[in-house]
C-alpha cells in the first residue's frame, strides 16, 4: 500500500495532470479521485471522458484543466472512444510509429456507465482493449439536475423519482454494476471510495499491471445532489463504507478480496441520516419500513461478498 507520503510525492510529480481552475462544485469528490488515479500512473496517459460534470467543468472552451491528452465525444461512448484510441495505439506500435508505453483511462459517471453507456462498456470489455475505466459514481444524473439513474439507491429522493405523498423516493434497488463487470471475466475489477484514497491508489497500481480491460467503481460524494454539507464528501463516503453499503473490494483474476472490513459495522441509518435525499424516510412509517429493508439488503450483500471471498481465496 502506498503511504500518505508517497501520495503527496506523486501529487508533487504529477498533480498538474489535472489542474485547478475547473468549475466543479466546492466539496465535489471528483477532483480527488481523478488526481489520485492520474498521479498513480507513471507512464504517459490518454484520457477519454464521457459527458458529465467532470467534462463540462474541466474543458469549457477555450480553457482546459487537463495537461494530458484528453478526448470527449458523447455521453454513452467513453468505452468505445477509448477503445478506438487504444486500437490506434496498437496499430501505430505495430507499424513502428510509436515505441513507448502509453496508458488509457476512461472517466464516466454512473449515468454514463450503468445506464446509457452500458452497451459500449460491455463491448469494450469483451473485446479486451487495454484500458482502465473509472466510474465516478455519485448515484444520479448530477450534471443535469439529480435525476435518478440505475445506480440511485432505493428510497433516495431524486428529481425523477421524487419523494411524494404516495411514493417514498426511488422504488427500485440499484443495479450492481461491479458484479456485471466481474461477469465479463476481465483481469481486474474493484470498488473504491473517495474516503479511502490510499486504497484507491493501491487498486490503480494493481489494475495498471494487467493487460486488458480494468474497471474501478469509485464512490463519489455529490454534496449538491445528496444534500449534504459542502465539507462532508469524505465523511459521508466513509459512512457508506463503514455501514457496508459500499464495500471496498477487488476481484483480481476472479479472486475476491475485501480490502477493508470495518471493525464495527455501523447501522445503515448512520449513512442515511446526514443526507437530505433520505430525510423523508425518517418521517413516515413507510419510510422506516424501507430503512429496515435497506438494512436487510446491505446485510445480505455483505454476507454474499464475504462468502465470495472465502470461496475464491480458499481458507487461510
Amino acid at each position: 500500500m502506498p503511504s500518505v507520503k508517497v501520495l503527496a510525492q506523486r501529487q508533487e510529480q504529477r498533480g498538474s495532470r489535472f489542474t485547478g481552475g475547473h468549475s466543479l462544485c466546492s466539496g465535489c469528490a471528483e477532483p480527488m479521485i481523478v488526481r489520485t488515479v492520474l498521479n498513480t500512473i507513471e507512464d504517459p496517459v490518454v484520457v477519454a471522458n464521457a459527458t458529465g460534470c467532470l467534462e463540462v467543468a474541466s474543458t469549457r472552451y477555450p480553457t482546459s484543466a487537463w495537461n494530458v491528452p484528453w478526448i470527449h465525444t458523447a455521453f454513452e461512448n467513453a468505452a468505445a472512444t477509448i477503445a478506438g484510441v487504444e486500437a490506434a495505439y496498437k496499430a501505430l506500435v505495430r507499424k513502428g510509429k510509436i515505441d513507448r508505453k502509453i496508458r488509457f483511462v476512461a472517466f464516466a459517471g454512473d449515468g454514463g456507465t450503468y445506464d446509457i453507456g452500458l452497451q459500449a462498456l460491455s463491448g469494450a470489455l469483451e473485446r479486451g482493449h487495454d484500458f482502465l475505466y473509472i466510474v465516478l459514481n455519485n448515484e444520479a444524473y448530477m450534471n443535469t439536475g439529480v435525476q435518478r439513474s440505475s445506480a440511485t439507491p432505493r428510497g433516495a429522493n431524486a428529481t425523477t423519482s421524487p419523494a411524494g405523498s404516495v411514493i417514498p423516493g426511488k422504488p427500485e434497488d440499484r443495479k450492481d454494476l461491479t458484479e456485471i463487470v466481474v461477469a465479463h471475466r476481465v483481469p481486474y475489477v474493484a470498488q473504491a471510495s473517495v474516503s479511502n484514497l490510499i486504497d484507491l491508489a493501491n487498486k490503480v497500481e494493481k489494475a495498471i499491471k494487467y493487460e486488458g480491460p480494468k474497471l474501478i467503481n469509485v464512490y463519489s460524494t455529490c454534496p449538491l445532489g445528496w444534500r449534504t454539507p459542502w465539507d462532508s464528501a469524505v465523511k459521508i463516503a466513509k459512512l457508506a463504507v463503514d455501514t457496508c453499503y459500499w464495500p471496498l473490494y477487488e476481484v483480481e483474476e476472479g479472486r475476491y478480496r475485501v480490502t477493508y472490513k470495518p471493525k464495527e459495522k455501523l447501522p445503515i441509518e448512520e449513512w442515511l441520516k446526514p443526507q437530505g435525499r433520505f430525510r423523508h424516510l425518517f418521517k413516515s412509517e413507510k419510510g422506516k419500513e424501507l430503512i429496515a429493508e435497506l438494512q436487510e439488503a446491505v446485510d445480505r450483500h455483505w454476507e454474499e461478498l464475504l462468502m465470495k471471498e472465502r470461496c475464491t481465496q480458499g481458507e487461510g
Binding site: P44, V45, V46, A48, E55, V56, T59, R60, Y61, P62, S64, W66, N67, V68, P69, W70, I71, H72, T73, A74, E76, N77, A79, A80, T81, I82, A83, G84, V85, E86, A87, A88, Y89, K90, A91, L92, R94, K95, I98, R100, I102, Q119, A120, S122, G123, A124, E126, R127
Partner: protein, 385 residues
C-alpha cells in the same frame, strides 16, 4: 487489372490497398460482406490494420473518432439503420474535423424494415458535416474510395467522407472493375500525417471540449470553411486520379449527352446507368434528352449544376427518398440554386423506395412526362396507385 467483382469486393479491395490503421465496423445487410472481406484480410495477415469488431454502429463511429483523433487513418462501412445509429457521433466526427472514410451501402431506413436500396440513409446524414459522394458502379465505388481518402485528409478539408453505393444493385452484383496496382495506390494515398494527435503525449491536446454561446457559433462557421474547401480539392484529386487510372473523372457531376439536350434527368447512384441506356435509345429516335449524374452531393455544387441546367426546357430531378412534407432533397438543392435566375421547368420524381425496381421503361416515362410537366410538380414513378 480488370476483374469481375461485386461492389463489396471493389470497396474491400480499395480498403486493402489503402491499408488503414484502424477499421471499426459492425455487420448490417447489405454492407456486411465489406466487413467480412476485410476481417479475412486481417486474419490472413494481408493487412496490418487493427480491426475493432464493435458491438454496434454507435460504437463503430465512436471508435473511429477515438482512433482518428489518436492519429490513425480510419475507415468504416455501414448501411441504413447502422448509419442512423452512427449519426449522433458522425456530427461529432465532422466537428472535430476527422478524416474518417465510410462506404455507405445505401438501404432504406425502417420502418417498415426493408433491406433494399434507397437513399433515405444518405439523406439522413445530409446535414452531418460529412462530404457525400455517390457512385454509379462498382468501378466508381472503388475509384471514389481511393479519392475519398485524399479528399478527407487534405489539410484544408479534414472532414469525414461518405462514398455511397446502392445496396444490392451495386454491392451484390458483379461487374468488371479495373483496379490499380498496390504500389500505385500506396503512392496515390501517401503516408498519413495526423493533426495534433492524442497519442503525441508530449504535446497534450483537448478534443471535444464544451463550447457555450460565446464560441459555438464561430466553431461551426470554421467547420463550414472545411466544406467550402472541398470543391477545389475534389477537382484536384480527380485530375490526379484520372491521370493515374486513365479514367475520366472531371467535375462534380457527369454530364451525359447534356449539351444540346432539351429534356434532362438528374439522378444519383446506379439509376444513372439505366438512364444512360434510355438516353441512347431516345437519342436514336431523334429526341434531345440528356442526363446529369451527381457525384458530389455534399457540399452541393450549386453554381456548376445550375450553369449546366440553365437553358434546358424541362428537368426531372429524381430523389430516391421522401422528405416528408416537402419536395425531395435533391430537388430542393437544385431549385434553390436557381434563386433569382431564370430556370427550366422542374419536376420532382420520387422513385425506387425500399428497393422498388427502376426499369428502363420508368425512365422512358419520366422523359415522356417532361413533355407536359407543370413547374414544381411532385410525381411518383413505379408506384402502384
Amino acid at each position: 487489372m480488370k476483374k469481375v467483382m461485386t461492389g463489396h469486393k471493389a470497396v474491400a479491395e480499395a480498403m486493402r490497398q489503402i491499408e488503414p490503421d484502424v477499421v471499426a465496423v459492425y455487420p448490417i445487410t447489405p454492407q456486411s460482406e465489406i466487413a467480412e472481406y476485410y476481417a479475412q484480410y486481417v486474419a490472413d495477415g494481408i493487412v496490418r490494420t487493427e480491426l475493432v469488431p464493435v458491438e454496434s454502429e454507435h460504437s463503430a463511429m465512436s471508435a473511429c473518432v477515438g482512433a482518428a483523433a489518436a492519429g490513425a487513418r480510419v475507415i468504416t462501412a455501414t448501411a441504413s439503420q447502422g448509419l442512423a445509429l452512427m449519426v449522433e457521433i458522425l456530427y461529432i466526427a465532422a466537428s472535430m474535423r476527422l478524416p474518417i472514410v465510410m462506404a455507405l451501402a445505401n438501404r432504406a431506413l425502417s420502418g417498415p424494415i426493408n433491406i433494399h436500396c434507397d437513399h433515405s440513409d444518405a439523406y439522413l446524414a445530409r446535414d452531418s458535416g460529412a462530404v457525400q459522394i455517390f457512385a454509379e458502379s462498382a468501378q466508381e465505388a472503388y475509384d471514389y474510395m481511393l479519392m475519398a481518402q485524399r479528399i478527407a485528409e487534405h489539410k484544408n478539408v479534414r472532414l469525414p467522407v461518405i462514398v455511397n453505393l446502392d445496396g444490392f444493385t451495386l454491392t451484390h452484383s458483379s461487374q468488371v472493375v479495373e483496379t490499380l496496382s498496390d504500389e500505385v495506390v500506396k503512392g496515390f494515398v501517401g503516408d498519413y500525417e495526423p493533426f495534433y494527435p492524442l497519442l503525441d503525449v508530449d504535446n497534450p491536446t483537448v478534443w471535444g471540449p464544451f463550447a457555450m454561446p460565446d464560441y459555438y457559433f464561430e466553431l461551426k462557421r470554421a467547420q463550414q470553411a472545411g466544406m467550402e474547401a472541398v470543391p477545389e480539392v475534389f477537382l484536384g484529386v480527380q485530375g490526379e486520379y484520372s491521370k493515374l487510372s486513365g479514367r475520366n473523372y472531371k467535375g462534380f457531376f457527369e454530364a451525359y449527352k447534356l449539351d444540346d439536350a432539351e429534356r434532362v434527368i438528374v439522378v444519383m447512384g446506379s439509376t444513372a446507368g439505366t438512364a444512360k441506356v434510355v438516353v441512347n435509345e431516345l437519342r436514336e429516335k431523334g429526341e434531345r434528352v440528356g442526363l446529369l449524374k451527381v457525384w458530389l452531393w455534399r457540399p452541393f455544387p450549386r453554381k456548376e449544376i445550375a450553369d449546366a441546367l440553365a437553358g434546358k426546357k424541362a428537368v426531372a430531378i429524381m430523389d430516391r427518398a421522401i422528405s416528408f412534407g416537402n419536395m425531395g432533397a435533391l430537388y430542393l438543392d437544385i431549385t434553390s440554386a436557381f434563386a433569382g435566375r431564370e430556370g427550366p421547368v422542374f419536376v420532382n420524381y420520387i422513385y425506387g423506395l425500399g428497393g422498388r425496381d427502376v426499369p428502363a421503361e420508368h425512365i422512358v416515362q419520366v422523359f415522356e412526362g417532361l413533355k407536359d410537366a407543370e413547374p414544381g410538380e411532385l410525381r411518383y414513378i413505379g408506384l402502384r396507385e
